[in-house]
């Protein structure tokens, strides 16, 4: 029995009443949904409300999703619109000067990309899948790839070698093997192009 499932398989399992499939979906996309809400300028409380609303909508539309393979895109769009609604509600309550947050990365007003989409949405979806694949790798692969690509400290190979007590010359081959493993996991998770 495989341990990785793509979105279509998970949605199908959810429709059959499998709790574990729903839990796996939430785990897969929890950071994506919550982060979009935060990126929209909402505080943590409102982002939590958006989070709850989006997954409520997902539960209610499980049987109506005609293209489960596009679940990530559906979640991103739903989160954007929900965040926009929340933002409008908050804007009516806030002074005008604080009512127009901007996206920290693109610098454009959040309201604009919330309505019309963000150019990095594809990358956001990849980030969700890659991060889950990293969690599934586990062990030294997870640690190595985390230090190489996720650690904000951006350690050098020598630092990584010392921390992981790996010969400096084996980091490269080990990294390549871990990435190959991650690729297989991402393929199983339905990441296109993997």
């Amino acid at each position: 029995m495989p341990t990785e499932y793509n979105d279509t398989q998970l949605i199908t399992a959810c429709r059959k009443g499998q709790d574990w499939a729903w839990d796996m979906l939430v785990e897969r996309y929890k950071r994506l949904v919550y982060s979009i809400a935060l990126r929209a300028g909402l505080d943590q409380e409102d982002a939590a409300d958006v989070f709850q609303t989006v997954f409520t909508l997902l539960v209610e539309n499980l049987s109506n999703l005609h293209a489960p393979q596009g679940l990530a895109a559906w979640l991103i769009t739903t989160t954007r619109r929900t965040s926009w609604n929340m933002l409008r509600k908050r804007n009516r309550e806030l002074p005008q000067s604080l009512a127009n947050p901007q996206d920290a990365e693109s610098g454009q007003p959040a309201e604009k990309w919330l309505l019309h989409g963000h150019p990095d949405e594809g990358r956001w979806a990849d980030q969700a899948l890659v991060r889950e694949a990293l969690e599934r790798l586990g062990g030294r692969c997870k640690e190595l790839l985390w230090l190489l690509y996720y650690d904000p400290a951006e350690l050098s190979y020598e630092q990584i070698s010392r921390r992981m007590k790996l010969p400096l010359g084996s980091i490269g081959p080990t990294r390549a093997r871990c990435l190959q493993k991650m690729r297989k996991i991402l393929q199983a998770m339905g990441m296109d192009g993997a």
Binding site: K30, R123, D126, Y149, Y157, G172, P173
Partner: protein
């Protein structure tokens, strides 16, 4: 450079910019002409970029937990509507099964044990309860159950069965209620009686369905009936006489099985063919003075008001005196000698029809038995027609048979429905046109003098009682049925009085209390 010259590691190093210039150039040259390597490199770039730019924030744990719980809540709620139809379906199925079971059980005539009641006692009667082996004195209104035995030492006893049949037991007769059962709702029943001695008049109510069974056993004969009236006289353990008064019965002995028609008489020996005796023949209606019967003693009732007496109008299909089983058993001497025929060797039974009214003070839960109406005891049998809902304190009026030394045998009881703040609906008209006492008000909470029942006894047109049983016939007498509709046989309240008493027949409660058409 072939595919083998550039490994995945080289692509990762190229992406991480960890190759020297020569190797970097060599890899780039190879990748430019290798679609697989281009695809691998594109994937690597996509994943590494996603990883390096990943600034997503982990939501709080409780927020995630709530989202996970959403699905379970939704699933439970989504299944709830499915459970409602299932529940409704289950209820409907259960209902259908219950109805089917009820219909089926109503067709099983031996489901519940039923009882008989001593409806009239004049003399000494004893009852042997099932399993006790002891004979104990019994009284009016006492209930008998399946397996019980009853014997009449002297006098006469009327036993009312649950389905409406009346058994007139003469002195010396003994009977065992072998089977007294019915199905659900009493729609079907099975009655088997074992008569071991004496004479018993079986006035059997018409069977309610083809599934009903009424059989009387004597030492030498089994009599199966379907609503008729007959007499079994156990003359000895080797000989039984069966006399059919109404309808027909099937008579079966050890070697004979035949049908006796109305007025036929037969002797059923133990080990010999059945012997037909001369058929009973009707005689002219006797004159009222022909029957020597003393005037009945005054009834111990508080107030008696004579009213004009007229014959009771015969009811359609019903014997006018069917409510008193012995009343029509009058026989006169016949020119045909028949030493074996004897009917009802009992003293004369005298009864008169009276009107009564009063307030219900007490009544049995199943309505059968002794009621107390304004301190007067009234016996209600399955033949009593009850109109209205009995409740303590309600005003009633009715018609009853008054027999010396016995409680009133109620023929009909009408119960006034409570009408607050309005005069009694019975204030006018009252029973008949005769002078009647002022209608008694309904019982109130105001203390006052205790209300006594008002019993209106119609004066007898002649000293003739309502029913007269003939004295024991001589051996040369042949019993002859008397025309049952003879008005002289039932001097009682007038037709007008009866009609006014019940201008519109109402349904009786319970349903089986009403008079049944007789064959």
């Amino acid at each position: 450079m072939s595919r083998h010259e550039v490994h995945f590691t080289n692509l990762v190093d190229w992406l991480d910019n960890r190759l020297d210039a020569e190797t970097r150039r060599r890899v780039e040259t190879h990748v430019a002409s290798c679609p697989t390597c281009q695809r691998d490199l594109a994937w690597l770039q996509r994943v590494v970029q996603a990883a390096r730019s990943d600034d997503m924030v982990e939501p709080p744990r409780e927020v995630v937990a709530r989202a996970k719980a959403l699905y379970r809540v939704k699933r439970a709620a989504a299944h709830a509507p499915l459970r409602v139809p299932r529940l409704a379906f289950a209820l409907a199925l259960t209902l259908v099964l219950l109805i089917s079971a009820a219909v089926y059980l109503s067709q099983v005539p031996t489901l519940f044990t039923r009882e008989a009641t001593l409806a009239m006692v004049e003399g000494s009667v004893q009852v042997q309860r099932l399993g006790t082996g002891e004979w104990q004195a019994a009284g009016l209104g006492e209930a008998l159950h399946e397996g019980d035995g009853i014997r009449v030492e002297d006098g006469t006893v009327t036993l009312a069965l649950f389905e409406g049949s009346l058994l007139g037991m003469q002195a010396g007769s003994e009977l065992t209620l072998s089977t007294m059962r019915s199905g659900l709702f009493g729609a079907t029943y099975s009655i088997a009686l074992q008569q071991t001695s004496g004479e018993i008049d079986y006035n059997v109510a018409p069977l309610r369905s083809s599934l009903c069974r009424f059989e009387a056993y004597a030492p030498t004969v089994r009599v199966a009936v379907r609503g008729t009236r007959f007499v079994i006289a156990v003359q000895s353990q080797e000989q039984t006489q069966v006399t059919v008064l109404q309808g027909s019965v099937e008579v079966a002995s050890a070697i004979t099985k035949t049908v006796l028609a109305e007025r036929e008489v037969a002797i059923v020996p133990a080990n010999a063919p059945l012997v037909h005796l001369p058929t009973l023949t009707p005689l002219p209606t006797p004159e009222p003075t022909a029957t020597p019967s003393p005037t009945p003693p005054p009834m111990p009732m508080p107030s008696v008001t004579p009213i004009p007496v007229h014959p009771l109008p015969p009811q359609e299909g019903k014997h006018p005196t069917a409510t008193l089983p012995f009343a029509t058993a009058q026989r006169t001497p016949s020119h045909t000698p028949s030493p074996t025929v004897s009917l009802f060797p009992t003293p004369t039974l005298q009864a008169e029809r009276v009107l009564f009214r009063g307030t219900i003070e007490r009544f049995p839960r199943n309505l059968l038995g002794l009621w107390t109406i304004s301190e007067q005891t009234v016996l209600v049998t399955p033949r009593t027609q009850i109109t209205g809902t009995p409740e303590v304190g309600r005003h009633v009026r009715g018609i009853a048979l008054a027999i010396a030394g016995q409680p009133l045998l109620a023929l009909r009881i009408e119960i006034e429905e409570p009408r607050p703040a309005t005069p009694s609906s019975w204030s006018t008209p009252d029973f008949g046109t005769h002078p009647t006492p002022t209608p008694q008000p309904m019982r109130s909470t105001t203390p006052g003098p205790r209300q006594s029942p008002i019993i209106t006894r119609p004066p007898m047109r002649t000293p003739q009682p309502i029913a007269t049983l003939p004295p024991r016939r001589t051996p040369h007498q042949t019993p002859t049925p008397q025309p049952s509709a003879s008005p002289e046989a039932t001097p009682t309240a007038s037709a007008e009085e009866w009609a006014e008493a019940s201008p519109t027949p109402e349904p009786t409660t319970p349903a089986n209390f009403g008079p049944r058409p007789r064959r």
